[in-house]
């Protein structure tokens, strides 16, 4: 990163290339968080057929629980990393409990009931978070090793964000390997295509669904845990992220893995530059993009037109 050579020819046309680069790196950082959350959302939709409104709430829980664990392990070495691990795993457990106790009973119902049930979870989890952690703004400090900033073409950029930008593709790659080159991944992909058939072939669909929900929740929790040092942990971060995650999965294609990554990258850049160039229109533009994709390619940019 630091030693990347500049491209002098391009710089002449742009007003401030280093600034644009920083802006696009911030967009990339945000895209990585969006990817973590949206990939879980997309996975759950692909396999369970549920559009999970509460996914943003799980993300928020991840941030709050990380804060909680950081304050628990106050003097432990590597407290932040333990907090991220425990925080995200706790969210995974909570997700598993939710699926086992409640969502499971709604699979046979109409989509509307499932959608509204996950919305009920948004309300419940949001208020529980308020009861436990209050309405104030909480924050977690960055781990010592990632504090500070580095200079890129004379502009400062936080090391922590670079870490996120590097971590994102690693998780994506890991995820892709699991989905495409392991037995579990094959079963998950098969379940997304035909859950009755996979059941009749001897796979326990019930525990598969729980497992998928747990993995999806873990991804949301991990997103929340990792965002905690660079974002304010406040009530309302759930509602804010979920709509953006919806936009990502719609643009990329519901249930499509690479589509989710592409959608995250697009939305991250649009948000990052939109605020700069068209502060008034950027928000409108995001939703217009979502609507246009739904009208022209409801299966998303990289999804497959599949009659569900």
């Amino acid at each position: 990163m630091r030693s990347a050579p500049g491209v002098p020819g391009v710089q002449a046309f742009m007003p401030d290339p280093s600034f644009l680069l920083i802006q696009s790196l911030s967009g990339l950082t945000y895209a990585m968080f969006l990817f973590l959350i949206a990939s879980g959302l997309s996975l759950i939709f692909g396999v369970l057929g549920i559009l999970n409104f509460a996914h943003g709430s799980l993300y928020m829980l991840g941030a709050y629980l990380t804060y909680q664990f950081v304050s628990q392990f106050i003097n432990a070495p590597g407290q932040f990393w333990w907090a991220v691990i425990f925080g995200s795993l706790s969210v995974a457990v909570i997700g598993g409990v939710i699926e086992r106790l409640s969502l499971r009973r709604l699979y046979i119902r109409e989509e509307l009931n499932q959608l509204l049930f996950t919305y009920a979870l948004v309300l419940i989890i949001g208020d529980f978070a308020k009861i436990i952690w209050g309405t104030g703004q909480l924050s977690v400090s960055r781990p010592a090793i990632l504090k500070g900033a580095i200079q890129i073409f004379g502009q400062f950029f936080p090391i922590y964000n670079i870490f996120i930008i590097l971590l994102g593709p690693c998780i994506a790659l890991l995820f892709w390997v699991i989905l495409n080159h392991t037995r579990w991944g094959r079963i998950i992909r098969a379940a997304a295509l035909d859950r009755e058939m996979i059941g009749s072939l001897g796979v326990n669909v019930n525990s598969l669904f729980t497992m998928v929900f747990i993995i999806g929740s873990w991804l949301a929790g991990l997103g929340g845990a990792l965002v905690s040092p660079i974002a304010a942990i406040v009530p309302g971060m759930d509602v804010e992220i979920i709509i953006n995650a919806f936009i990502v999965v719609v643009i990329g294609g519901l249930g499509s893995f690479w589509g989710t990554l592409l959608g995250s990258l697009i939305l991250g850049q649009v948000i990052s530059f939109g605020i700069l160039i068209f502060p008034r229109l950027s928000m409108v533009f995001i939703y217009v993009l979502m609507a246009v994709v739904l009208i022209l390619r409801p299966w998303g940019l990289l999804g497959k037109p599949l009659q569900r």
Binding site: E111, L115, A120, L123, I243, L254, I286, M290, A291, P298
Partner: protein, 308 residues
């Protein structure tokens, strides 16, 4: 007259006599309930009768509220003109948005209505010079001749009763039966030569028309408007009202609106955690009474079977 009509007459009579209690509280609550009931019933034309899960109904509510207010405040038009313009704008907005939404079905339809309502919200939120942006517009006075809460209550009652009359006629007419047929099986309806999309679009427009009336009433009642009126949780809330009361009966959403607003009034005076209660009620409802309150009563035969 049927048993049901006698019952409706009794309710109207009760509502007409409500201000005699001289309780400002009940007049206030009554107005609120009537307005939200109109909003919920207009949504239910789509949800319960046509089988379209609209997740962006707040857009038309907001269009009504902003049209009425802006015409009065910025264009200095008289209240009657502004008030009549609101539903026209609502129906036009519904026509434009509905045209695209009905191209999709199920979850994609819901996502598309969400996307469009967010576009409308973002425009209202960002167009500071016209709408006041995030600050909204405050200080909307009662119109002439309706300048007391009681008078405005009677005006609301009259408007809402007329609207219900028209909508009830519509759903019991051959047109309404056609909507129900489409809900039950769109493919088959299309197969016997019915233009399904045209009927759906008409339902969309009627729904937007009456939602906008509710929005215009709400703007005056509340004396102020904010972009939050169009934000997606508002759409979710009205959906919940319809489900709570029962989406498969005409007056179900009215019951839902009344129960929810009364509960909110009651519970918020004790605790700030109203969303937690609402979420829990909604979750229990989806599990145990998917037909809503009216559906439950009908099953118990405590109530004469309403027109469906």
């Amino acid at each position: 007259m049927s048993k049901e009509n006698w019952f409706i007459l009794a309710i109207i009579l009760f509502l007409a006599l409500l201000p005699l209690s001289e309780s400002r509280f009940y007049v206030f609550l009554g107005t609120d309930i009537l307005i939200m009931a109109l909003f919920a019933v207009s949504l239910n034309l789509l949800l319960g009768y046509t089988g379209l899960v609209c997740f962006g109904q707040a857009a038309y509510f907001g269009v009504g509220a902003y049209t009425c207010t802006l015409l009065m405040k910025k264009a200095s038009l008289a209240f009657p003109i502004a008030f009549l313009a609101a539903p026209v704008f609502g129906a036009v907005a519904a026509l434009m948005i509905g045209f695209f939404c009905i191209q999709r079905t199920k979850i994609y339809f819901a996502m598309l209505t969400l996307a469009f309502s967010q576009i409308v919200w973002a425009i209202v939120f960002k167009w500071n010079s016209l709408t006041g942006g995030d600050n909204g517009i405050i200080g909307i006075p009662f119109p002439q001749h309706l300048d007391s809460p009681t008078r405005f209550y009677y005006f609301t009652l009259a408007v809402v009763v007329c609207s219900f009359g028209i909508m009830r006629e519509a759903v019991n007419s051959p047109f309404g039966r056609m909507l129900t047929t489409i809900r039950e099986n769109p493919e088959r309806t299309a197969f016997i030569g019915i233009n399904v999309k045209l009927f759906q679009l008409l339902a969309f427009m009627i729904s937007g028309f009456f939602s906008a009336i509710a929005g215009a009433l709400f703007a005056i009642f509340n004396h102020s408007i904010f972009p939050d009126l169009l934000f997606w949780p508002q759409s979710a809330e009205v959906l919940i009202m319809a489900i709570l009361g029962g989406m498969y009966s005409f007056f179900g959403p009215v019951v839902g609106a009344a129960v929810m607003l009364y509960m909110r009034m009651f519970i918020t005076s004790y605790t700030q955690y109203w969303p937690l209660i609402m979420g829990t009620v909604l979750a229990l409802l989806l599990f145990f009474f998917p037909g809503g309150i009216v559906g439950f009563l009908q099953n118990q035969r405590w109530f004469s079977r309403g027109s469906r």
